[in-house]
Symmetry: C2
Subunit: 259 residues, 2 copies
């Protein structure tokens, strides 16, 4: 289980990642232009030409598979990531071993910005499904960001948006006398993909780690929703095999309102 790799294997994994990055930088086709990644565009808008050269030499896209670790909490900050595709869960762990998913990053979000405050990562970041991210060494990122007012403003907006999101989770998803099925309905609505009736499907334990429930309880509630015809496991072959639910959004909203 990659999420719980023991500490001693981390150095090896990091070295492997570094090697992979180097390899890719030399052999893989480079991104064309800077427009592909909005944050990079911002970072470079006010940069000098030699900074652009620096940038071009080390920054590239990076792909991660399902449940692959982008970085680990308490590790020194190495790179800042801008999510371009897929979703990433941010895990925070407490001293007593408790664990909770505090955010889910989607395309346009950034990971590792806590480097502005500290030299170690705050979370463990793990890919949900296939992920593509633009990865920038933290030193370069900080240097470019310091010279770009627009980037700072963008970061501030992103941070405030994240703050709002977490506060909403705290209000709507966290325990506190709100029945478990209501919290689950709200979570499913938040995990909606696009504007259709597809709902991104996480493992029972993962959903439990968000709403504060035990996996068994999550399973019971999901099963009950299924019995009521509110959601169905979307096993329609293809790549969607088991990564999605198909849900009755209106019915879920009804439950989420909690009468």
């Amino acid at each position: 289980m990659r999420e719980l790799l023991p500490e001693q294997s981390r150095a090896g994994a990091d070295a492997a990642n570094a090697a992979l990055l180097t390899f890719k930088a030399k052999t893989a086709p480079r991104r064309r232009g800077y427009g592909k990644c909005f944050p990079c565009e911002l970072l470079l808008a006010e940069a000098s030409s030699e900074q652009r050269a620096d940038f071009d030499a080390v920054v590239d896209d990076q792909d991660f598979g399902h449940s692959e670790v982008l970085y680990r909490a308490t590790a020194p900050v190495g790179t800042v990531h801008f999510i371009q595709m897929g979703a990433v869960k941010l895990l925070r762990s407490g001293p007593a071993g408790e664990q909770r998913i505090v955010r889910v990053l989607k395309p346009g979000d950034s990971a590792g910005i806590e480097s502005v405050l500290s030299h170690t990562y705050e979370h463990t970041a793990i890919a949900l499904g296939d992920v593509r991210a633009c990865s920038i060494p933290v030193a370069l990122f900080l240097k470019l960001a310091a010279g770009s007012g627009r980037t700072q403003m963008w970061l501030l907006q992103k941070s405030l948006t994240a703050l709002k999101e977490v506060e909403t989770w705290l209000l709507q998803l966290a325990g506190g006398s709100i029945p478990a099925n209501v919290r689950m309905a709200r979570l499913l609505l938040k995990l909606r993909a696009n504007d259709e009736d597809h709902i991104y499907r996480l493992a029972n334990k993962e959903m439990g780690d968000i709403v504060g429930l035990v996996p068994e309880t999550v399973c019971r509630i999901i099963s009950e929703f299924g019995r009521q015809g509110i959601i169905a496991k979307d096993d329609c072959g293809s790549i969607f095999s088991k990564r999605y639910f198909r849900g009755n959004i209106q019915a879920l909203k009804k439950i989420a309102e909690n009468i």
Copy 2:
């Protein structure tokens, strides 16, 4: 109960506040120099002399009494506040009427910065005890902030710190299979005043609104802590009359660890 003033009385209250502010600007002794409020210092560091004059004409300190409302959620953003003294609770309300304290601001924190994203307040802000805040009209704040890179950086740091704080609340204080007495012990530790054994005392319902418990349960746990000699109501006369607990920090930490 001032927190639940009906809507129709708000306009009157706002007008009264505006009148008070004007009055104070004309008659009350002004703050001496800009050094008194760090954020103001930052805002003005790169400002022109006429901007300073503008600033000096409208910005001043404002005092709030216990349970007084600084601003109300969904109201248009009028002023941004920098807390100089006391504590302020930020309440977020959901569509189903659920309510939760999502943050507690302390000196050095800012309130109303969501104005960067939106034109309405995100929270209802209510004073806990006596509060002194530096109040700046949002238009002036945005104008000055746009021209001050250091202010933007400071705001980013503040926002990231708040984000970290809320995530920690989500992890340690929100429901999720963590026993109620452990969550309460953690809350009491977070409400510690200074480095002593004084603990800021909120109403039972307020503490419940943070950890997601019903007031009765909060009372039972506090009573139990009292019976165990872990905390005592600090009724030692003076102004501290009933605003503080006196607690055995080590014992609380023991409980907070949850074995």
